[in-house]
Amino acid sequence: MSRRPPRGEYIETDTGNKVARKATLVGTQNIMLGGKTVIQPEVMIRGDLIRSIQSSSSSSSSATPNNTAVAIGRYCFLSRASCLRPPGRLYKGAFTYMPLRIGDHVFVGPSSVIQAASIGNHVHIGARVVVGEFAIIKDYVRVLDETVIPPNMVIPSFSIVAGQPARVIGEVPEGGHEAFELRELYKTVGNNPPPAAA
């Protein structure tokens, strides 16, 4: 993990986000970052896939339609070549995308594709994982490498899931909660990362 990237590989924002210059963020105005989030090179976020049908309840506030396509919390880590894509479906006869919401301390492994409706806090998603459309992942969930989570699947808190299709294979132990914290990992990347921790 201590591979030192060349100078200036990341853009560091005021809120502490570290976004790789080689990441592809489409429709940036529709992507919300909570801060202190790392976006590695070759990551793609499809902020352009916005909701084409506004829900009837919010139609009254016509001035500012909610166009958020992807909302990401604090201390998230999107590994190289992962992809975040809002899920889409037919709604009252017309096709529309729905927002993809991600909580705090969510790790997305390399080459994983996320099309969930929501991902909670403290979630670790391994490498080459596919999270199907409108899946819901609750808090403190560990998704092992190469898992395929079918569309619409709900994964309750403290689950360890694996397999194709995904099944709950275990429970996160009480002592395993702290391992989901990504503050330390956040510090190891960027343009001037400190030497690797002992």
Binding site: K138, P150, P165, E174, G175, P195
Partner: protein
């Protein structure tokens, strides 16, 4: 072979007899001579059941001891459905069983989640449907697997409403026919008895005729209901028939009292007849289908031909069959097919939130909040906040032939070449720790590797306040971590009795290992699974002092504030360092 990440497993004291030694076990002699008589052998078959990663261990504050998943006592706090996340009251559990009774189902083929989808009814062809049908467009629903595309229409099941699928499914038999209700069953019986007359033989013939034409076969519920009705009538009128079993008296299968006793098991006493008539005589057996007699269909040729014609993949696996919930609306199990095409949607099994108790003092050591949606804990005494964590890193020191290649985790270890590992102990408590390590000079097992702990005794500073950690975040350049790091790794020298590096609440020490050669001598068995993994057992003893009464306010009025109480904890752990290169 898969690379191996270094690991630390800790032994719970509940396996004490194992940790205190297995002196009679001669199959895997420990090679430690003299002082270490009872070295823990991580390869002993028993060790599998007592070693846990630190995260899996809890800690009892009253017993001052480690507790593991094997020895704690669990209590279920909440039952909930893992799919809709609704809590299920435990009273419902008794009546409805341990599955979600809403609309949550798993695919019987691939276990993926099923979702309710409306079926677009094809435009009705006027030749098939009556005019009144065509006039009302009726939308139906099916369960569809979003992973393998299985649909409940494949077993002929559709639903009228998109909600309450569980209740709807319970009424439906495969193929779409609805399950008989108690009332319908009664009516059918009446009809049957009218048609076939009073004679039982005639009724049986009628049923037999029905069966051969493939019409109404008797499902489990109907059979039970018929049998129950018949038995009740026999109990009420025991003198109706006497077929020679009366000599056996109450002991016979056909005696009313043993029957009522058996029935009590199933019906909870409702059938019990106050023993008035029980002595009167024996009952006769059921003779016809409407009395609950079910003739086994021994002619399975049609099933066999179907098996011949179908693929192996068309048959259901035993796991798939086992996961099927009992379905009373189906025909008798005898001759039931084992094809995928007969599998029904599987309602989700409920999941639980559980609190955990210490096995010795019965104090609760882990208690989640009861609400399904919250992840907070009221009590969560995890071992990781009481005993130091041990992390392992391979250390590559420059050899005499210039600087060493950077160490990569998961690299194979060269046999007979000394290799150094850095063990970092991190102190989670707010007191300084005195740590004493003990490890056998050679690892147990057939291939003893030499182990030297260069610094077996050291102190770790207390874990200071969390605010220090926060400050460190803003000021990471001058963090205590890098302060003591005078130069790069290569400038350090491995010294016996000296710690390698020290930080705010952690200490690193070096362990030198000479991996054994895995060369097999003549007559030796081949390498067993994971026998090439270099695992070293290590005995860890930690000592610390606590303010007397500081964490124990109930210890009495006469306590002395300044007096410090000494605490100690000792346990075995196993360090998995890596695999040794073979050949």
């Amino acid at each position: 072979m898969a690379p191996l990440n270094p690991y630390t497993y800790i032994q719970c004291p509940c396996s004490d007899s194992a940790s205190l030694g297995r002196p009679t076990d001669l199959t895997s002699p420990t090679s430690a001579d003299g002082d270490e008589d009872n070295t823990f052998d991580p390869r002993a078959p028993r060790a599998n059941f007592s070693l846990y990663p630190l995260e899996y261990l809890l800690y009892c504050e009253d017993c001052h001891q480690i507790r593991c998943p094997r020895c704690i006592a669990e209590e279920i706090a909440t039952y909930y459905c893992p799919s809709c996340l609704f809590e299920v009251p435990s009273s419902n559990l008794k009546s409805e069983g341990n599955r979600c009774t809403r609309s949550c189902f798993q695919c019987p083929i691939c276990i993926g989640p099923l979702s309710v989808t409306s079926i677009e009814t094809p435009p009705p062809s006027s030749t098939l449907l009556s005019p009144d049908h065509a006039a009302t467009p009726h939308s139906t629903y099916s369960l569809i697997c979003s992973y393998c595309n299985w649909s409940s229409t494949e077993i002929g099941i559709q639903f009228d409403k998109p909600n309450g699928i569980h209740a709807q499914l319970a009424k439906l038999r495969n193929g779409g026919a609805s399950r008989l209700t108690a009332k319908e069953r009664k009516e059918r019986r009446k009809e049957l008895s009218h048609r076939g007359g009073e004679a039982a033989v005639a009724a049986a013939a009628a049923v037999a005729a029905n069966e051969s034409s493939g019409g109404q076969d008797v499902d489990l519920e109907t059979q039970f209901a018929n049998l129950k009705l018949f038995c009740n009538s026999q109990l009420a009128d025991p003198s109706a028939a006497d077929n020679g079993f009366s000599s056996l008296g109450d002991l016979g299968f056909s005696s009313p009292s043993s029957l009522s006793r058996i029935m009590n098991l199933y019906t909870g006493g409702k059938l019990h007849d106050p023993r008035a008539k029980s002595k009167l005589g024996a009952m006769r057996e059921a003779l016809a289908a409407d009395e609950g007699l079910l003739e086994s269909n021994l002619n399975e040729s049609s099933l066999i031909t179907r098996l011949h014609q179908s693929d192996f993949l068309d048959t259901a696996s035993s796991t798939q069959i086992c996961s099927q919930p009992p379905n009373l609306g189906e025909p008798h199990l005898h001759g039931a097919s084992r094809f995928n095409s007969s599998l029904r949607p599987v309602p989700y099994l409920l999941r639980t939130k559980r609190s955990k108790r210490c096995p010795v003092c019965r104090h609760i050591i882990s208690k989640p909040e009861a609400k399904v949606q919250t992840t907070r804990f009221r009590i969560r005494l995890v071992a990781g906040s009481y005993i130091p964590s041990i992390s392992i890193r391979r250390l590559n020191l420059p050899g005499p032939n210039g600087p060493a290649a950077p160490a990569i985790l998961g690299d194979l270890l060269d046999p007979l070449k000394p290799v150094h590992f850095l063990l970092t102990f991190k102190n989670p408590i707010f007191e300084s720790l005195k740590v004493t390590l003990g490890a056998p000079a050679t690892t147990p097992g057939r291939f003893p590797s030499k182990v030297t702990v260069l610094c077996p005794q050291f102190d770790i500073d207390a874990n200071t306040d969390v605010w220090d950690e926060a400050l460190k975040d803003n000021d990471r350049e001058s963090s205590s971590r890098s302060r003591r790091r005078a130069g790069t790794e290569s400038q350090f020298q491995v010294e016996v009795g000296k710690i390698w590096e020290r930080g705010r609440n952690w200490v690193s020490i070096v362990v030198e290992v000479v991996p054994a050669s895995l060369k097999l001598e003549a007559g030796q068995d081949v390498l067993k699974e994971d026998e090439d993994v270099l695992e070293i057992p290590m005995f860890v003893r930690i000592e610390w002092e606590v303010e007397n009464g500081g964490d124990d306010a109930t210890s009495g009025p006469g306590r002395d504030k300044d007096q410090k109480e000494k605490r100690e904890l000792a346990y075995w752990c196993v360090l998995g360092l890596g695999r040794i290169k073979q050949g």
